[in-house]
Subunit: 338 residues, 4 copies
């Protein structure tokens, strides 16, 4: 007989280093008996073993209806990634009063910082300026700033207003940007409460001097920023693609950017790692490339660990989780993780 | 006899395009009779001619005591640069009740935006990441972020807290930075009112994860960031040099940065243009270089023109100027413009 | 056959004037077929009649498990009060994926404004000052301010941090108050994210210069501010009782206030209306009394109507409600409405 | 021979208790040799005695040109009141590079807090509600709130935007008020930078649901809110008179308020103390009266002492004063103190 509740830790592809530092381990083991599994998704035999007793699952363990039915003590599932995994029966968990939580809010600040840095780099020509200086072709002051634009007072558009948008907006606010957003999931009034004007997508594309693509991928919106849509983007806009490459026609996006139709920073790709021979590596010198590095730094994992400990403590005490994000069953079910 | 007051416009090195757009001209000429001179500093004969009648001088016209004595109707001098010119008798103008104003507040937002962009680029390795991607040596996610640091919750130091600092602090605030500053001109209480801890310079250098060099040059502080001082900077700090190169030992600064002692972005140089053969152009690939482009973009000149029109209107109506910065005679007199 | 979804409107004790203005009615009827009932709780026969078809219930209709079972199309319940009614099977509704929503967020701003007004009135002696002036016993300036205290920089404690607290904190922030809170339901980290220090109740009582009692009543916390607890309040603190009288020992509370042990404003009472003969009406001249007027003004009902229309639109479109508050089943079930 | 600079302290009507607490005295005496005089304006013989050596005058010592001429070491004058005294030659002091400073910024927070408290009390009927409760005539909830209005989203007008306005605006901001102001001394752009719309006075009177009279008295604006102007105030507006009674036709103001034309709170009077027999004491039961208690509490004097010490330290070190407000000679000269 065990006096402490059982936590099952199955965080792959998160590693032990990311989620199981000594202080995290100490905090968790003070509250619960923890069965950890690292390095791969836990084998079925281990999962079957813990189901009858487990109180909290931390990780991406597959949880179809049949498994939920065999986990009578399960109180919460903490997905320590930023996406909703397709292997969970979200409606079933909800019906059993088991919240499924994601760590997206803990990842969002780092992504927002990168998005802002990319936007300033595009608007102010930071990379081009550095290259020109090394080439001895730099021009000083306003002579070098013919194309420079600024976030101050600029019309800015957010495509999607979830965790990333909520982390980005406070960083943009002191620039006095006129902020607008398109998110079909949210009410215009909700956007207004966050100081954002709700705009139809085509208007947002046409009006924004800076455009942040922050939408996740669902079964319904894959590729919604196709070539025709991208053609509506305001000429010379600064476009930051930072959520998921699958929401755009990626080839068209790169073509437009390299043709000077708009400026672009790209942190996410349809295939990662990008093939060594991908031609755009060398040809697309106008695009700012980043190897999916916007969110995944130690600072984010520190936040994820803190959120995990905080919400496990809440849940084991019979209180609601406060740090992580609860799955909206209808949205989580159509989400396309990878 | 003239019914309208006389304004003398002598803005060189500011050009006609920078300060004399059609709408600006229309606004000014509705208030005053304007005598403009562009393309060079106004010749003495022209200056002598306008002195007896001039109400407002816009530009960098030399104004020693003797000229002030011959300008009985002069009410204000609007320097449309961001530095205090050494050719004005500041104490004399003050004694006559003639405010001398600079456009520094209008330049500061663009500089602050660039400073923030540089800081994020340094902390997150934006330029190195882009280069690695083109070279096919990029690493994804946390594997590529071994050196990445973030502004969120970071200790940040400002060296100097004038116009640039006041424009930068609001941009840093949403990151939750712990802000400190060193400015011998200001009281600790004043810094505290702006949410900054006052720190001795050596403590600031040792403590700050991000360091912004924002101090202007005066007769008293030239080179105050010498090699020994720079050696106190916290290892691997991100240092943004964006006010005036003369406040640092520039060679030592570049050496430390290239040696990996700290990360650096440099917008200002001891000599501009930088000589074509300056060796650091090619050797110092760890430094982010920018050709004095932080402030001088059209957005800033738009702000300067607006501030000029606003304050001319105030002054001609007998009201105090509100947009531009008034010279503090004691400080302006020791300032080292160029 | 009906093409539009059915909404049942059963808002008593909310009146037609509160929730069914012409523009609200027009907005609702554009989306749905509405069956309204005003003036009393809807009779069972009417409820039974709509159950098979109803998509959204707006109001306080009793919804035990058996009724939920007979409402196969029900998608949401919008309680247009600020409390959780005990007549709903919250766990059952949750299990069926039917969110139960309350209008508490729409009431909170008005209550927060009143709470702030009461706090300033207590701290600055507004009512006593007005009375003294009429009596000709006023004293001017600092002579009249011997007991005056100010919110600026003051230690402030919130007992409970739900909707009221979240509406009040932004109003207190510009005073630079040191904000602390006690709420056993919330994590200290959550409070810290809102800029509040988490404190044990007794510390909060002892430390706070201003104390706001904002906790709702549950089966577990009734009367938790008993005489002994109240005796721990910092001498001469300003205490605002504005959520529910049942959380305090009301008689002890009034006694302490009238004895000058602390200053108090009271908006809620154990029995409302207060009996005409209640002795404290005349004897307790040091207490600021308000007849449960903190939240219920037209401004609040305007917000409730707007939130109702917004969330009905979201729900009927298959999107999540954004304006009203979702019941946390475990908390709603123990809530003590009245 | 004296090694330390000389400070002359002549603060009457400020008392020793207000400006000379032990810690203040210790801080000042560590920096300077202090000659204090309390209880009356310093006699001429004492003033004459200190003039040749004095470095800083703290107080309201009369300083006509002749005295300034005999004070060759004088570096600054710190008026520890909130008004500009008429007994100083402001232009002469300015010409000599001697800043004259006032403590108005240190008084402003307390006044702003009181102004906000009065506004909420008027809008929400706090005093009337308390009286009704005692009389047993209270009505509950919305029945008692027929006349209640709220600051949230309300159009608010500031008459004058100096120290008081700058302290009040941050307190109003979280209410989402639409803020407008009238101040003939300031540019519309300056007001816009503070988030205020500039409005002609008559429009401000007609549009504002809440009106704050914050203007000081000058030779030019005395009585500018005469009966005709007051008649333009929006019906049932909440009007807070808190700067100086001399800017309004006081009798007309009270008449309008008592007639129910608008609601009013009054902290300042044409004659103070108000004569015992002033009829409005008893007749004007709709007006909220306060005996000039908005600013003068210990908190304000603590701020004044801190500002005094901070700026004396700056001045003696040859640095600019940062805490107190510098006289704008043109405005200070026409100011009507009392």
């Amino acid at each position: 007989m065990h006096s402490k509740p059982l936590i099952f830790l199955d965080p792959f592809p998160r590693t032990e280093a990311m989620v199981w530092t000594p202080d995290t381990r100490a905090a968790m083991e003070a509250m619960a008996r923890v069965v950890p599994h690292f390095g791969s998704r836990a084998p079925d035999v281990l999962v079957e073993d813990i189901l009858p007793e487990v109180a909290v699952i931390v990780g991406q363990t597959a949880l179809p209806a049949e498994r939920l039915a065999r986990a009578p003590k399960l109180r919460a599932v903490l997905n320590v990634k930023a996406n909703w995994e397709p292997t969970i029966d979200y409606a079933g968990a909800h019906a059993r009063g088991i919240p499924v939580l994601s760590a997206a809010p803990a990842m969002a600040p780092a992504v927002a910082e990168a998005a802002l840095g990319f936007a300033i780099a595009l608007g102010r020509g930071v990379i081009q300026g550095d290259r020109a200086f090394r080439a001895g072709t730099e021009r000083y002051g306003i002579a070098g700033n013919a194309d420079a634009i600024s976030l101050f007072d600029a019309p800015v558009g957010l495509i999607g207003f979830g965790n990333l948008g909520q982390a980005l907006v406070p960083l943009l606010r002191p620039f006095g940007c006129r902020l607008a957003a398109h998110d079909p999931w949210l009410s215009p009034e909700h956007l207004a409460r966050h100081g954002l004007e709700a705009k139809p997508l085509d208007d947002l594309l046409a009006d924004s001097r800076y455009l942040f693509i922050l939408a996740g991928v669902t079964a319904e919106n894959e590729g919604f920023l196709g070539r025709e849509r991208l053609a509506r983007i305001r000429p010379d806009a600064c476009v930051v693609l930072i959520s998921r490459a699958e929401v755009v026609d990626f080839e068209a996006f790169l073509d437009f950017a390299q043709a000077g139709r708009f400026r672009a920073a790209v942190d996410v790709f349809p295939e990662e790692p990008v093939p060594a021979a991908a031609p755009f590596r060398s040809t697309h010198d106008r695009v700012l490339f980043s190897a999916h590095r916007a969110g995944g730094l130690e600072d984010s994992y520190r936040r994820i660990r803190a959120a995990m400990v905080e919400d496990v403590r809440q849940i084991l005490a019979g209180r609601p989780p406060m740090a992580m994000q609860r799955a909206e069953p209808a949205l989580a079910a159509i989400s396309r993780s990878r």
